[in-house]
Symmetry: C2
Subunit: 183 residues, 2 copies
DNA sequence: ATCGAATGAGACGCATGCGTCTCATTCGGT
DNA sequence: ACCGAATGAGACGCATGCGTCTCATTCGAT
């Protein structure tokens, strides 16, 4: 008995990441519980999405903590961050695309915290001379989210290999597509 | 009289890019026509989205043509492509996020054509030594779409400046965030 | 074994948005 | 000025999914 709330959320995240229009009934079935029970734990679909958002923020915040962004070269810190965030890439992808729907009415303050921390990493890298300064930290932050989401979708659709997740994101984000000049 | 189909599509694209859940009525109002008229021109919401998809594909294909991808260095060709695609970035962003919903049932063949042409550009760049070979053309193609979409969303949300659109995308995609080593 | 809490299945009403239809009005060509 | 086609406004039924409720069942602690 006693439904594992976290487990339900994880199942819901996995399902909604693939099919964002999934029904409450489908979510319940996927989690192996009844629709009524799902409603007993989450007031409604909106509450469910909010809970997923909260979980996603917490997970990503944990990834930020685990990555020790303040230590060592900024580029290496970024690699650690991508590695830590990988397990939650699907959830992130879902939330990012879901966020487009939030008509600015009430966005979770958590995103601002995350943005600030990621931006701070890029800024630190710029000040240390590791990152170029002609691309704003805000854009680099968005690009990081975007690439994580894009990669997650691509993996789900089988267009790229899951095992290359970290490599593709970090290498593209850090070095770009252009072949570096021999030095 | 006589509704301008293309104009309706453009208005719909602009609206749906910001609010993908917009009602058929909202789309009609935005286009300055009645809902009945909208239905007379597009069999239903699905048909409308399909028409938008078709338009997006055509526009992007036109961008590919205009960019002359086969001429000159691959990186410069990529810059031209981004520049040509910029006017339709919003539409692209909408279609990309909407494509996630297509449960593989029936994806427009047009995307495959576009993918092939973009991939070919990256492959050409790799063979010419312009682009690095450790990132697959498929991933670079996805990344290009992703960055265009991300940038479009960021501009819409006011997080980055619209005027830097081309620069942010091309510079990040080509050169990455890392400051290049002095040579 | 017993009892209470939690669950599952399903019914029910409600809200929303779609697609169709009707009818009066307006546009535009002749 | 006339007439047909196109449009706008709105009504209508329908389908879907949500949220609530009931009731029998099951789990788990005592």
């Amino acid at each position: 008995m006693s439904v594992d709330r976290a487990q339900v959320l994880r199942t819901a995240a996995a399902l909604l990441s693939r099919k964002s229009t999934a029904t409450m009934d489908e979510v319940a079935r996927a989690a192996g519980i009844g629709r009524a029970t799902l409603h007993r734990h989450f007031a409604g679909r909106d509450a469910l999405v909010r809970a997923l958002e909260e979980m996603g923020i917490q997970e990503f915040e944990a990834a930020l903590d685990a990555a020790n962004l303040d230590e060592g070269p900024a580029d290496e810190a970024l690699r650690r961050l991508v590695a830590e965030a990988e397990p939650n890439a699907q959830l992130l992808a879902f939330l990012v695309s879901e966020n487009q729907l939030f008509e600015g009415d009430q966005v979770n303050e958590g995103w601002a915290r995350l943005d600030a921390r990621v931006s701070a990493l890029f800024r630190r890298g710029q000040e240390a001379g590791t990152f170029r300064i002609d691309l704003s930290p805000a854009w680099l932050t968005e690009a990081l989210y975007g690439l994580i989401g894009t990669c997650a979708w691509s993996v789900m659709d089988g267009r790229v290999a899951a095992k290359d997740f970290r490599y593709m994101i970090t290498e593209l984000l850090l070095g770009g597509a252009r072949r570096s000049v021999e030095k």
